[in-house]
Symmetry: C2
Subunit: 213 residues, 2 copies
DNA sequence: ACACAATCGACCATCATGGTCAATACATAT
DNA sequence: ATATGTATTGACCATGATGGTCGATTGTGT
């Protein structure tokens, strides 16, 4: 978590280049297997600089966890509008935020994922607690102030919500897998959003009360 | 793919021990990062034997792909009853087969998954074709001879099926994640099967035509 | 021209890797 | 018992990657 002050003073795009390179490497290989050599090559800096900014690998790692948590909070969690009480609409909204976040910070979500799973590296206590807080918050933002009355009466509401969530995540995962490798910037995403909305409509027809307009 | 004949002659449980150890290591770390040292330690054999049975790492890998494909075909794909025409019931059936398969051959599914994803190692042509055939077959067994008339008329059948599939996979993934680490043999799975069936019932109520009994 | 910070990459000790092979342990047959 | 042949081991090797250091070079501001 402790970096040299000089790091904060350098060009911001360079900072991002380094952070993104490091996050990508850690996300793909975990702490132990991640290579500082690959990071500096990817970031386009000399070896000396990395260990000048951050004393050692572990400090870099902890700084990244802190950074990733911060950025995820401000650019993801806080953008979720908790006043959208329709569950499916909220998931739609979250999907857009998630996509935008992924555009601006690829690998950050993956990185946090690997950090959460990783047993074999122990973080400082404060980071550890922030991590678990983060998970709870994410869960809460999904379900808080949701209008349960939209769901048809003949099914269990909790089960319905989870099924809806899983179905949507399944769609997203399949898309992600499909796009793997291709530069996402070069794809016209609109047709996929359209298709996504069609799926959401199906979910509404099936899980929500009959529309009596 | 080419192993020393002696391998086939040794004790069958020992064969399995070696194969499972190797599959686990490759599944968790991919081809390059997988360590033959860890494999022999896990299998409880000396270094010499591994390279006596299989000439080198790559031969071992190819033998494993062949083995995994065979076992998955005979113990998984071929067990699926294609005459169950109710989509959700077929998925239920597949879930049971999948669980049993996972019990007998942990890591095999993961292993094949990593093999499919891996670009940076090229298999012999025949294995490559068997791999893609395998994927097609798996897809076909899901949808062949399915009765589309069960789905309510006001939603797109294809979309409905995919949503159902994703929802169910989501449930299974969440369970898997939850069980991670704990020896699955020491858990009483029945309550989870019961819960699973409840979810299936919800899916039937929501996606199928109204039950007019 | 000077001071000082930023930056680089050759270099280091260490370690894990895939693979080898001389040496054993073991079994079987005579 | 002895001899023969096979199954098995693990110390050993060259190689390459690792995290980290540091003297040298470049750049900047005065």
């Amino acid at each position: 978590m402790h970096m040299n002050q000089t790091f904060k003073n350098i060009d911001e795009t360079k900072q991002k280049r380094i952070l993104n390179a490091a996050i990508k490497e850690f996300a793909e290989n975990g702490y132990e297997q991640a290579s500082t050599n690959k990071i500096i090559k990817d970031a386009g800096i000399g070896k000396g600089m990395l260990f000048h900014y951050f004393n050692n690998k572990k400090d870099l790692y902890e700084y990244l966890v802190d950074y990733a948590l911060n950025i995820t909070n401000t650019e993801y969690l806080q953008r979720i509008d908790i006043d959208e009480s329709d569950f499916i609409e909220r998931l739609k909204q979250i999907a857009r935020i998630k996509a935008e976040f992924h555009d601006n910070n690829p690998d950050v979500k993956n990185f946090i994922g690997t950090v959460v799973l990783n047993d074999d590296v122990e973080l400082p206590d404060d980071l550890e607690t922030r991590l678990s807080d983060f998970q709870k918050t994410g869960y809460a933002l999904l379900y808080k102030k949701i209008d349960k009355s939209l769901v048809r009466d003949d099914v269990d509401v909790e089960k319905a919500f989870r099924l809806i969530r899983w179905a949507i995540e399944g769609y997203q995962n399949e898309l992600m897998q499909q796009f793997q490798g291709e530069k996402i910037a070069h794809i016209d995403l609109q047709p996929y959003w359209d298709e996504f909305y069609e799926y959401l409509d199906v979910l509404k027809t099936t899980f929500y009360k009959e529309d009596r307009t």
